[in-house]
């Protein structure tokens, strides 16, 4: 009789699930805003200076930061699940997820630097 | 253990080997495993596939949750239901133990249906009364909707997972290893891998279920082939009361699946082609809830007198649409599903076509109330065969006598599963070591398999096992049905004996060693054939009508000559019949003397 060795629970499931949904809610609220802005620009109700003023505002920067963090968390969670489903070899899984983490963190830092105009 | 002459046979040592993973086997395994013994359950299927799973209506216990009840009334009903062929000590033991064991099942997790006050739901079933038949209908059958057997089997399997019982799944039992000092083990065939296994054990328990497949139309599963009984016969031991096969009144016409007696318990009733509720004529008091043999005979009588329904006038109708959709869906959901699937009938709107269908093997391996297998030796009619036990439908304790009451079979398996476990523990205290085996004890079992495999590998010519089986089932169906006569049965016995002669020439076509199900069917056919022969011989000899054995030429019960158990053995010369008296003395209460049965 073949027996599966009981590996125990990783106690990670609810955390992952929670963050994915939380980030989805943030995205649902914040993601339309940039598009609204674009629409506003194209319809001519906001000009370039107005746009810059808006983006420069502290609250805009805060929301922008929240948006980008949620985007990264959400994408990371989603892609991680896809890697876990489709990449059967644990070594490759860890490598890919790790690589993805590095790339996304880099992207996030770069974007945050732009938002808050670090070093500039 | 190379001295057992071949490394083709894998050797196992267990304290106890249980053959069969139905309710009885698993209840017994649980008792022994919880006590710390090395228990092996050898089963030809996966444990949850055993036929206990198909039991529907419920399990009897005098809990008195719905109306006051007492185990003594339960005992009276069971003795009366058995047509006074039941052994009253065993019946008393079972009825007394019932409330305890049903509550224990509940504690083990069985999802019983509930009453409003939170206690176990009980429904009326056939043959149940209060105050020794004087106080009207009792509600004694504890139910988990109409899936009670499923609920109990799964719960017992779960408990065995907890207890760490060792399951040898998809192993077919080939032969009992017996010697002068009793049963010492078992030869088995690993179906999936095609290997021989020799189980040495201090006790072997046969819990292999019924043999309904000796008939063509049956509510029984394909696996109900009476394997334990055939092993017992092969070991030179007798089978008891095999002529008593219960016909369940309400199998779905032509196909077989069972419609539980619970349908009538909940208020359903039978009607004939004229729309008449005919049971009122046959059983004025109990009506549709008379005991099963009575209802089956009534249906057969209606059909014989031309009041059957359908184009062939070969069935009657079970009406339950008046119960309302809500009750049907909450208390009888499985019946709704089965009627829809197998009769193409929505039972919330239309009646279900039913006919008496072979359902239960009252007879079996003779045992005492501790589950020990007994045989006759000289004047002593109950000599214990050490180390060999039988429980459940495979055994004949006999609590069912000539006719079983609905709800008593699930009860029997847990009561005697546990009782047998306790008795085995005593046996184990006295037998601390495995017996020394004969060097070639494995051979007889192995020869059973090799004979069939070689027929396929040599491409021998001969009748196929499917052909022989169908002919055997047809003979049993035609000659040993609800109503029996001397002439019909004598012809049946002759045909059956000549068919049994053909078994030597029968062949299979599959010579593969791995998961050879044709081989398994061939071995099962050998078992069925042995049981069919003792059934037929016992039925022909019994010149009376009692319970499920109803004869046109001897319509009355004859307590003077026939209130005794049939014991049939089988050897190369054929079936030999013997008899033993019914144990009419209960453990503590007064005996119920035979009376005329009226419902």
């Amino acid at each position: 009789m073949k027996l599966t060795k009981e590996p125990g629970s990783a106690r990670s499931g609810i955390g992952d699930w929670y963050w994915q949904r939380l980030s989805a809610v943030v995205l649902a609220v914040l993601l339309p805003l940039p598009f609204l802005l674009i629409v506003a620009v194209y319809s001519g109700s906001v000009d370039q200076l107005g746009l810059l003023d808006l983006l420069d505002h502290f609250f805009s920067r805060l929301l922008h930061t929240l948006l980008i963090l949620a985007l990264i968390v959400h994408a990371y969670m989603g892609l991680k699940v896809i890697f876990e489903d489709y990449v059967p070899v644990i070594g490759w899984r860890v490598t890919l997820i790790g690589g993805m983490l590095v790339v996304m963190s880099g992207f996030g830092i770069w974007w945050l630097a732009i938002i808050w105009a670090w070093g500039g | 253990m190379a001295y057992l002459s071949t490394d083709k046979v894998e050797h196992h040592f267990h304290d106890v080997v249980i053959v069969g993973s139905g309710g009885a086997g698993m209840r017994c395994a649980l008792q022994l495993a919880d006590a710390g013994h090395r228990v092996a359950v050898v089963t030809k299927v996966l444990p949850t596939r055993s036929h206990t799973v198909a039991a529907q209506g419920g399990i009897n216990a005098s809990l008195g949750n719905v109306a006051s009840d007492h185990w003594h009334w339960h005992m009276y009903d069971t003795v009366k239901g058995s047509d006074y062929l039941g052994d009253q000590d065993a019946i008393e033991y079972m009825c007394r133990a019932a409330p305890l064991l049903v509550r224990e099942l509940e504690h083990q997790g069985v999802p019983f249906s509930r009453l409003d006050d939170g206690r176990i739901y009980q429904r009326p079933f056939g043959g149940q009364s209060r105050e020794f038949g004087e106080g009207g209908q009792a509600s004694r059958t504890c139910a988990a909707a109409d899936r009670t057997g499923h609920a109990i089997l799964h719960s017992l399997y779960q408990q065995n997972l907890r207890a760490g019982t060792h399951f040898y799944q998809e192993f077919f039992a080939l032969d009992l290893i017996t010697g002068d000092d009793g049963c010492q083990g078992l030869m088995a065939w690993d179906i999936a891998r095609g290997e021989y296994h020799l189980f040495q054990a201090k006790a072997v328990i046969l819990a292999t279920g019924g043999a309904g497949r000796v008939f063509r139309v049956t509510t029984n599963a394909h696996i109900c082939t009476g394997d334990g009984g055939a092993l017992t016969l092969a070991a030179g031991l007798p089978m008891e009361d095999m002529e008593f096969f219960q016909f369940h009144p309400t199998g779905i016409a032509d196909v077989g699946p069972l419609i539980t007696e619970g349908v009538r318990g909940e208020g359903g009733y039978l009607i004939n082609a004229n729309g008449e509720r005919f049971m009122e004529r046959y059983a004025p008091t109990a009506k549709d809830l008379a005991s099963r043999d009575v209802v089956s005979r009534a249906i057969a009588q209606e059909i014989r007198e031309g009041r059957g329904c359908g184009p062939k006038k070969d069935h009657v109708l079970l009406k339950l649409d008046h119960l309302g959709e809500e009750l049907i869906m909450s208390k009888l959901p499985n019946i709704h599903e089965l009627a829809l699937r197998f009769a193409d009938v929505d039972c919330t709107k239309d009646p279900v076509p039913v006919q008496p269908t072979v359902h239960y093997t009252m007879g079996g391996i003779p045992t005492n109330r501790f589950g020990e297998v007994v045989y006759s030796k000289g004047r002593n009619k109950e000599v214990v065969f050490p180390g060999l036990y039988a429980i459940g439908e495979a055994a004949c304790v006999s609590v069912h006598g000539a006719n079983r009451l609905g709800g008593n079979s699930l009860l029997e398996i847990v009561v005697f599963g546990r009782a047998c476990g306790n008795q085995v523990m005593k046996h184990l205290r006295e037998h601390r070591y495995h017996a020394q085996l004969d060097v070639d004890c494995w051979q007889r079992g192995a020869e059973r398999v090799e004979r069939w495999l070689s027929s396929a590998r040599d491409r021998r010519e001969g009748p196929s096992i499917a052909d022989v089986r169908l002919r055997m089932q047809t003979i049993m169906q035609e000659h040993f049905g609800v109503y029996r006569t001397e002439e019909l049965m004598a012809e049946g016995v002759a045909r059956l004996e000549s068919l049994a002669g053909e078994m030597d020439r029968a062949v299979i076509s599959d010579g593969c060693g791995l998961f050879n199900t044709e081989l398994v069917e061939a071995l099962e056919l050998e078992n069925l054939m042995a049981l069919a022969r003792v059934t037929a011989a016992g039925a022909l000899a019994r010149r009376e009508s009692r319970g499920a054995h109803a004869r046109d030429d001897y319509p009355e019960r004859d307590d003077e000559r026939w209130m005794r158990h049939t014991l049939a053995t089988l050897d190369s010369e054929g079936v030999k019949l013997g008899y033993k008296p019914v144990r009419t003395s209960p453990m503590t209460v007064e005996s119920f003397p035979p009376k005329k049965r009226v419902y």
Partner: protein, 236 residues
């Protein structure tokens, strides 16, 4: 009765065949409401004794004959053969190791069942009588306890195909939920602890093949969601 049913059945004999193949059979319709199991039996008993499959009760309660029928998992004994698109393609349950023909290795499935400790666990002393349970509490078990462990749902689940070694699969999670919602069981916390894992439970992506496949018309997806809600409630 001369109507014929064409079947194409997956065959594999590990002693003889290098790889599996599909074999065609023609079977007469022998009775009204004939089921696929009747057709398989006809083949085994009349045409080809080597065809290998499991069967027991023949009425859909034992769960032996779970098969992949025209691409959908179901029980042969309750699948009417008329009405199926012909030729009827019959294959073993997907994602399982085939032992022979239509017989698959169920060990891993039952090991996973064992992992959730599917038995009643209580800490309070056993009462003299039954543990009381109201009809409403008992109703929570409807749709849970009826599972026959046929593995039709689990083997239809892509998540289980991909991560079957760690994802418990719909059938086992349905049974986990059966004990979590049972008012008599006192190990709910331990059970939830054991399930709180990204693989064991959360591999369920609500694909819902399981509820399509279930021959008893149970809904494992809903059970899994119920467990997730319980975990969330516990965390919040």
């Amino acid at each position: 009765m001369s109507e014929m049913i064409r079947l194409s059945i997956f065959r594999f004999d590990p002693e003889r065949d290098d790889k599996p193949f599909m074999q065609s059979y023609e079977v007469p319709v022998t009775k009204r409401g004939m089921k696929l199991l009747d057709a398989l039996n006809y083949i085994k008993w009349e045409l080809d004794g080597t065809l290998t499959y499991r069967r027991s009760c023949g009425e859909g309660v034992c769960g032996s004959d779970g098969l992949n029928i025209n691409g959908v998992n179901g029980l042969a004994c309750i699948t009417p053969v008329t009405g199926l698109k012909q030729p009827v393609h019959v294959r073993p349950l997907p994602g399982m190791h085939v032992i022979r023909d239509l017989v698959v290795d169920m060990d891993h499935f039952f090991d996973q069942y064992r992992q959730i400790q599917p038995w009643m666990q209580t800490d309070t002393p056993t009462p003299e009588h039954e543990r009381l349970q109201s009809p409403e509490e008992r109703a929570l078990l409807d749709g849970q306890y009826e599972c026959i462990l046929c593995a039709c749902c689990t083997t239809s689940c892509p998540s289980w195909w991909w991560n079957g070694d760690r994802f418990l699969g719909p059938a086992v999670l349905l049974q986990a939920n059966r004990w979590i919602v049972d008012s008599r069981d006192e190990a709910t916390g331990r059970r939830l602890d054991q399930l709180e894992d990204a693989f064991r439970l959360y591999r369920c992506h609500q694909i819902m093949n399981c509820m399509e496949a279930c021959p008893k018309e149970l809904n494992p997806t809903a059970a899994i969601d119920s467990i997730k809600r319980k975990l969330l409630a516990r965390k919040s």
